[in-house]
Amino acid sequence: MNADVRCPGSLAELWPLLEDGFAVMAGGTDLLARRGAPGRVACLERIAGLQGIREEEGLLRMGACETHSRLLRHPLTASGLPVLARALSVLGSPLVRNMGTIGGNIVTASPAGDTLPPLYALDAVVELASRQGTRRVPLDGFILGPGRTALGEGEIVSAVLARIPAAGEVQHFEKVGRRKALAISVVSLAAVLRLDGSGTVASARLALGSVGPTVLRCPRAEAMLTGRRLDRETLLAVGETLREEISPIDDLRATAAYRRTVAGNLPLRLAV
């Protein structure tokens, strides 16, 4: 089996390859680890338009081929999006972070994808590019199920744009895995909360990983949190609601019951 690997230098060079049925690779840490990797691969890493991290109309625009390490090191992520930075810091292992890209993490569409709960909690939007141009769709509408996305024929993810929370918003991420590196998350929670001057939650965004077919936002729990303070009693009640909103499964890593319990416990880490 001789693999046909192409590294187009521009989007213009990429489109014909996609039309020829080449599989797209952006980092490859998931793709190459799969048993039976594709024989024809188009690597996206050399396409300049898929790189770059910059602020754009109050959003942070992250090129799809930015690696996890580069994102993690970038001052705009580190200072503006600690919820994402925290997730990046526990993603895979240093080696995976050097190779893997944020676009790849999105298109893999695993409910355990570590960057996804923060992106969901930040109301991220994905930018899709094709020969016809670009379009933007909300991340939670883009990911349809495990490994399934709304990516059209001949289309790639070119960037992801996340809201930059205002200073003072509470940003929290926790990944529960079976070990500290190279472990798929068993449950993860991302929270982005805006508090008013008195410590009352003005708005809440909660997203959980590995407890459903996709990363889940939990609107009932978010609503319950809004207007309340981050006290233990509230967080216990929020946890109870979270448990009702998720649909975890049993697998080798954990039972559904454990995931449900832990998912409801994790908000307690926010107790003040």
Binding site: A33, S93, L182, L236, T255, Y258, G264, N265
Partner: protein, 747 residues
């Protein structure tokens, strides 16, 4: 150094140009009758040289170190999912993969048995039909005193049932090798093996070949841990070579195949009753152990023997009754793994000690220290402990360590949402093969023409560093720089016979043989130098780096001069060593012909500190301190690294490693799902050496490759009980159990 710079050639690095590739088709089902194996399509694929089935295997077609019951290629029955049903030789890896996928098997599934207790129940499906004894592979009894009566006199009796799981070795280098048929119809092979000298006989028996026409080389191994103690690729590769027309054939298992077909640490169930006086003096032990052998005996009986010999831990218990069984099942094949049965026994007896300490209201460390075996005491199998016997010293060493001494303060400082606990355990591990199987090695040492020395090492270095220790030993014994010592890795044609790289025996047994050979070499060097120096009293000569010197006259002769003057025969010194055995073996354990009991043991104690998260049940091993007594320490760095590696494997056994075997199939069938600890999951693994001195050992040392693996599992279990009240009886402990022990969510 060659390993550090990547220059060392491992068996996997060898791929002779134009070599053929061999691979096995595995059954994939745990129990089935073989109706047919269709190979026509595979044979027709371009690049395929041969497709062989059980019918093509000459000789007995049976492998097994002691009990020969494992076919090279199955003929009529598949007994576990990893059984090989066909062997393919091809010009390329692509052709090999293609052919393997084209082999069609007609298998009629048979009801399987996947639980050792159910395997022994009447009416259970038979793994080996028509076998007398059914699925009971072996049963044995070890007794001392009168345990049944002694329990009546105990003030306190505790009882528990414990389970330890299968464990995967997860060595980095998969089983692999290259082989070809020689012109005279023999086989030459390079393989990643722990036992090249035994492999010859294994191959010879299985394939009906003259073992002396089988040559096996064993370069450095990229890990073994027991998983390469026994045939992995050897017989398949030799069979392939017989059909390779004299061309080299290479076989290298994938990680998936290694999980599927490789040996595992035996899963065990252990029932323990332990009785003591009110003061905490142990009086009686009643223990029943059951091992899951998988479908073949391999080393199950010998592993059970060692487990039973260690069932009482490093403690003085006057009355013992230890019963052991091992059962055939359709699970993966059980085999050797660092700790060889002792890991299973240790967990059970240490957990029983914990519950005894609790019942007595005693400190678990004090209870252990009070009962620790001292020189002259009889262990649970009735073997007198010879000097040194450092269980007490090891316990004292870890009890004096801040990790234990300052545990109350440390626990009190637990951060929010965390609970902390500290546990302690003691262990011992026999060294060598034990009675019935001579633990021998012969060493060959050559003075080269250039005046340096070549050690012909006979026991593979699987990463434990014995080869480096041999270089150091020879350098010291011959008063040379280590750079003047070359160590030739095992080659059955060049090196002299020795046992396997296993049983914590290598440095002790081969080291003794080597030191004797070095002694002979010193005498030889002086005698030959005397001719040059006209010294009629060779004893007055001294060996210096690169030369022999006559201090009386100030004259010297270089070793290269001596070397260049001697015939090769005269440049070689050979000697051998056979490990001493228990002189008056106790009158028990008669079922064991091989490997029971042992005369020497290394000792260990371990303190583990853990932090459990109240919200997730995740457990972090925060400290792990292991003390070992292994005679005198020859190479402290070597000892430390062995202890660290062993402790890491013990930590994995305690908290992570789970193959998820269901109906004979491994669900965690790769390193992505079977989780071993990473560097981030381990604290600094501290090692404290307690000085001993084994009079029969080279430089007073005892083997210690295994003793460090036993501590973490029971110490972590005790630490968790301390932290969250979880009474762990089964490994690995998972976060769900820990969380449940804390009451689910925090109240």
């Amino acid at each position: 150094m060659s390993k550090a710079v990547g220059a060392e050639r491992f068996s996997t690095d060898i791929a002779p140009p134009g070599c053929l590739w061999a691979g096995a088709r595995r059954a994939g089902v745990p129990h089935a009758r073989v109706v047919a194996v269709h190979t026509r399509e595979a044979r027709a694929l371009p690049g395929v040289v041969a497709v062989l089935t059980g019918a093509d295997v000459p000789g007995a077609n049976l492998q097994g170190i002691v009990h020969k019951d494992q076919p090279v290629l199955v003929t009529d029955t598949v007994r576990h999912a990893g059984d090989a049903v066909a062997l393919v030789l091809a010009e390329s890896r692509e052709a090999l993969a293609g052919a393997l996928s084209l082999i069609r098997t007609e298998l009629v599934p048979l009801p399987g048995v996947f639980d050792p207790e159910q395997a022994l129940a009447p009416g259970a499906p038979l793994v080996h039909s028509g076998r007398e004894g059914g699925n009971l592979l072996a049963h044995a009894l070890v007794e001392k005193g009168d345990a049944p009566s002694a329990f009546a006199g105990c003030d306190v009796v505790v009882e528990g049932r414990f389970e330890t799981p299968m464990q995967e070795h997860a060595f980095l280098e998969p089983p692999n090798g290259t082989a070809r048929m020689t012109r005279d119809g023999g086989i030459e092979m390079t393989a990643s093996t722990q036992a090249p000298f035994r492999d010859r006989f294994e191959i010879g028996h299985a394939l009906g070949l003259n073992p002396m026409r089988v040559r096996v080389r064993a370069p450095y191994l990229g890990g073994g841990f027991g998983g390469k103690d026994g045939a992995t690729v050897q017989c398949l590769l030799a069979l392939a070579a017989l059909h390779g027309g004299g061309r080299w054939v290479k076989m290298c298992w994938s990680r998936g195949e290694t999980f599927l077909a490789g040996y595992k640490r035996h899963a065990a169930r252990v029932r323990v009753r332990l009785g003591a006086s009110r003061q905490g003096t142990l009086q009686a032990l009643d223990c029943a152990m059951l091992f899951d052998s998988g479908p073949y005996a391999h080393l199950a009986v010998e592993i059970m023997a060692l487990a039973m010999e260690h069932a009482g831990g490093p403690y003085l218990i006057p009355h013992t009754r230890i019963e052991g069984s091992c059962a055939y099942t359709n699970n993966p094949v059980g085999g050797a793994f660092r700790g060889f049965g002792v890991a299973q026994a240790s967990f059970a007896v240490e957990r029983a000690m914990d519950s005894l300490a609790q019942r007595l209201g005693m400190d678990p460390a004090e209870l252990r220290l009070k009962n620790a075996l001292r020189p002259g005491d009889l262990n649970c199998a009735g073997v007198p402990m010879e000097s040194p016997a450092g269980a007490a010293e090891c316990l004292e060493a870890v009890m004096a360590h801040p990790a234990w001494k300052e545990r109350d303060a440390w626990k009190a400082q637990a951060p929010a949402c965390k609970r902390r606990g500290v546990g302690i355990a003691a262990s011992f591990n026999a060294m060598g093969y034990g009675r019935g199987l001579p633990d021998a090695a012969a060493a060959k040492l050559e003075l080269t023409k250039g005046g340096t020395f070549r050690v012909f090492n006979s026991v593979p270095d699987m990463g434990q560093g014995n080869a480096a220790a041999f270089a150091l030993m020879a350098a010291e014994a011959l008063n040379q720089e280590t750079a003047a010592i070359e160590v030739v890795q095992p080659d059955t044609r060049l090196c002299l016979p020795a046992g396997s790289s296993s049983a914590s025996r290598t440095t002790y047994t081969f080291g003794n043989a080597l030191l004797k050979a070095c002694g002979a070499m010193r005498e030889k060097l002086k005698a030959r130098a005397a001719l040059f120096l006209l010294a009629d009293e060779p004893d007055r000569l001294a060996i210096r780096p690169g030369a022999v010197v006559d201090e009386a006259t100030g004259r010297s002769v270089s070793l290269s001069q001596i070397g260049s003057m001697l015939q090769r025969d005269d440049r070689i010194c050979i000697d051998q060593f056979v490990m001493p055995v228990v002189e008056n073996p106790p009158d028990t354990g008669k079922e064991f012909r091989l490997g029971f009991p042992h005369r020497m043991y290394s000792h260990g104690a371990c303190v583990c500190a853990v932090e459990a998260d109240e919200l997730t049940g995740q457990v972090e091993l925060v400290r792990c301190v292991t003390a070992v007594e292994c005679g005198r320490v020859f190479d402290s760095l070597g000892v430390e690294r062995q202890v660290q590696g062993a402790a890491a494997q013990g930590a994995g056994f305690a908290l992570l490693e789970d193959l998820h075997v269901e109906e004979g199939l491994i669900r965690a069938d790769g390193l992505d799902r079977y989780l071993i600890p990473t560097a981030l999951d381990l604290p600094p693994l501290e090692c404290v050496s307690v000085e001993g001195d084994e009079p029969t050992g080279p430089h007073g040392l005892k083997g210690m490759g295994e003793v460090g693996v036993h501590g973490p599992a029971p110490a972590v279990a005790q630490a968790l009980e301390d932290a969250v009240g979880l009474v762990a009886r089964r490994l690995p402990v998972n976060p769900q159990e820990v969380l449940e022990a804390m009451g689910g969510e925090k109240p």
